[in-house]
Amino acid sequence: QESTRRLTIKKQTLDDAYAAPA
Amino acid sequence: QEKRLDESLGNVKIQSFHMKCCLDRGKLMEALKHASNMITELRTNQLSPKSYYELYMAVCDQLRHMEMYLLDEFNRGRKLADLYELVQYAGNIIPRLYLLITVGLVYMKTTPGSRRDILKDLVEMCRGVQHPLRGLFLRNYLLQSCRNILPDVTVEEIAGDGDGKEEHSGTIEDSIEFILLNFAEMNKLWVRMQHQGHTRDKDRREKERLELRLLVGTNLVRLSQLESIDIERYKNVVLPGILEQVVSCRDGIAQEYLMECLIQVFPDEFHLTTLQPFLHSCAKLVPSVNVKNIIIALIDRLALSKDIDLPDDLFDIFSSQISNIIQSRPDMILEDIISMEGSLINFTIKKINAESKREESIDSVLQSTLNVIKEKCNKARIQYRTNIGKELLKFLKLPITHGTQDGQTSGIAPIKMSLKLKVFKNLLKDVTDLELQKQITLSLLNSALDSGIEDKIIEENRLTLEEIEIFLSELCEPLVK
């Protein structure tokens, strides 16, 4: 379990995910 | 490119040789170091996608040796409990994640109870690779590695299973979540490729993106192979998850490919229950997408389906959704609209058995087409010697040659059909030029003449006098002119 521990992440919005790099 | 690729392949060969020597001598840690050095070649940014793919395949082949060795060790009882942690000590992210996937796979194969956690961990940790090309291949490695290990059982099956399988060995829900997330991230990277590099390289980039499409599509293929995905799961979880990404990405290449992929990989029954959302999504695709091809692919597929009960209102659903698509895409060219309507006629011909219902449906398609043509062309007539003209000719021939009673394509059946279809005449006369009308008439006449029964027309009473009059006076008029 130590080896797979992660923090909860904020979900990226779809708009952000597919936006062109700024 | 060739020189760079050869150099990289050479390094892979050397490092993999050392890796295998170390494995033969039982020196796992050293073997892992060589494996890491080998995978480091995949950090390159000097190779085109095609060359990178070759390098990637070479590395994957060698990693399979490592996997086999580790599986052997596990089966012999050697505990490698810390290995999942140890491989994470690697300082560079690319070798680290490839090794993590390889080791994780071995753990999942030998310890089913770890599957859920490791699957989730691997798909999340791959976020660290944001470089489009390297990220795509890494996630492809993840997907391909896990293809035989994805849980394909429901919670109910586990509960009902008497042999005490633990729930955290994973269920179909975990597999769906895993693949959908991997797919979303891969699509994101794939779409992002269009923004890399100079604008002058746009065409080359597009070509490269097309070469890589299969990497993304493989996620959908894998989903379709999961047997526990029933219609409900497909409708409520899988399809919405896919469509959400496809529509949101607003990229023509991705949308066109993925929608066609969806049609191809999932079975007809699934498509039948999800027509509304699927076609609704088609309406939201970007203007550059050739929606016509997607619609036609779907309709044609269902038209060819066997042993499936099609719902009675299927034609109505298609018809209304196509109208919706046409309305929401004012830039759609007329040829494409006609082509789509043509596929609907084709569907009607193949799937609606009741003659009157079939004729009624074809008429409604003809009417919709007529309305669209009038709207788009205003008062101009479609010329025969144009692309639209050719498309329209094909369209008009379809119901009269294939839509006849008992599927007769010759004789006077086409003539009879052309007269039965109330809108056919209007469509022909109102919006086409003389030449196109003539071609239709010629086609009808030749069909009748070719069958060699011209002297039996009246004799067998297959055309009434009234029908002959209408045919000769109205439909043959262009020929006379």
Partner: protein, 299 residues
Amino acid sequence: FRSGADIDIILDGAENRKLAEIKSEDGKKDRYYLYYDGETVSGKVNITLKKPGTKLDHLGIKVEFIGEIELYADRGNHHEFSSLVKDLARPGDLIQNTSYSFEFVNVEKPYESYTGTNVRLRYFIRVTIVRRLSDIIKEMDIIVHTLASYPEVNSPIKMEVGIEECLHIEFEYNKSKYHLKDVIVGKIYFLLVRIKIKHMEIAIIKKESTGIGQNTFNENETIAKYEIMDGAPVRGESIPLRLFLAGYELTPTMKDINKKFSVRYFLNLVLVDEEERRYFKQQEIILWRKGEKTRKQIQ
């Protein structure tokens, strides 16, 4: 002037005592017996005459337990913070091989053994045969580890940093205090990305400070560089971080040791852009050594 005797120091319970490693000044790894604060240090001193039958006269034999700090810039001065002496023999003659027992009961060992770039803290047992002209001396190092238990308060480090109109990130590390075999679990969330990022890495930096006040000398050493992102993210991306400290040679944080030196650790989050410009944010973390027993109990 050659020494007339060999001295061996044998520690009690050596066969059951763990050995620990410590880097020597020349970078090699030495292994010595491991002790903890409060433990009794006892054993035997064996003196073997080089020429049996000959007499070795001396002005006394003693054993010392010493803890000292040596600043390399000031080699002549060794700062002893711990010094215990036991006399083993009064002035006289040694005519045969002799063995003496010694015991330093419940010895205070307040600091951890440390070998750094500019300073060394060591503990050792020194046996001296005092003679008129030159003493015969034998030293035996031991290593001391200082243990701590789980801190009562261990809040995560969470911060938003940025360069206006250019790059804004929010980073989070799950704790501010980590034991030496711990895992740093974190994430970096991108709020604004207007630069072409090539990659992101996290470095563990050790800062050794020696001296006090105006005479403080700082030495930075990058213990680890760990790549956590390859390529350029866009806004809204969350990049996971999982860094295992057990893979690196670290010591506990040492603050103001005997007013002589400090050893502190920092995490340096670095983003590198396509033109090799580096954007970084440094954050101190506290490292501590967890006792083996504690770990096992929790397990």
